[in-house]
Subunit: 162 residues, 2 copies
């Protein structure tokens, strides 16, 4: 996994630093067949994620990563280089889709955009941010879309003022 | 991971065997702290998933599994003992939420219910099934809700008739 940036505390963004339309781009991770099979053995042991030959006769037409593997790789990219949020990346949930599978050799990266910013009514120290993240391969094809609701802390000063 | 059942080809359910309201229940998997940290090191390296002490001062108040780890464990339970679908479990996407975190020692199981059944207009050999799956701990508290759209093959005979 490529580490392009590890933001220190001061570089990280608080709720108050974010705005709708703001975009972020992660580093790239190249997925290999061994990695696809290792994840599948542990979490999604189905023929189309485990075996090149057996995968040919399935809906996937060849070895494909588990969607949950694509989601996990996406999270790693977001944590290490994608979304430099204060307090880390804490999600309450969201919508996920896999328009096409991740294949061996795919170079994945994540492009994110802030879609909504909602201060908490009950908790002046935080807010909720809706982020749409596309995970794209080396041909710029989208392999995953995740629209997630994240909990982001406010700056101490901003919280004290509100 | 407990393997309670590995359905053979004939036991597996086709699109035509499913009905709205049908319920399925998986085996149980007990999650330990080492497993939580190992997943986090690989895919979600944040303090609240990696370290008991550091997790105490965070939103989680103690070590918690990555939501993607809960999702991956849920998938394993579904594949091995939860949803005996012909063609395997192939998801196009869905909605996911984590009402509370998975903690070390939690015994997780998945309870699923078929919510919608939609034959494909363009492909007589398959259909889409909406399944709501709750992942519950040993106190019957819900740690994850996933409402997924799955692609399920029709029986050859049914497809030929339609």
């Amino acid at each position: 996994m490529t580490r392009s940036r590890e933001p220190a505390g001061d570089d990280r963004l608080y709720f108050d630093d974010l705005q709708v339309g703001q975009r972020f781009s992660s580093a790239t991770h190249v997925v290999d067949a061994e990695e696809i099979k290792a994840f599948a053995r542990q979490f999604d042991p189905q023929p189309f994620h485990l075996d090149h030959e057996k995968a040919k006769g399935t809906l996937f037409g060849g070895l494909a990563a588990s969607g949950w593997h694509t989601a996990a790789i996406t999270m790693r990219l977001q944590v290490e280089s994608g979304l430099p949020l204060a307090g880390g990346i804490v999600g309450a949930g969201g919508e996920i889709s896999w328009p096409r599978p991740t294949r061996p050799g795919d170079a994945l990266r994540v492009v994110s955009e802030i879609e909504e910013i909602v201060p908490s009514r009950s908790r002046p120290d935080r807010g909720t941010v809706k982020v749409r993240s596309e995970t794209r391969n080396q041909r710029d094809e989208v392999v995953q879309v995740l629209t997630a609701k994240l909990v982001v802390p406010r700056r101490a000063t901003a919280a004290a003022q509100s």
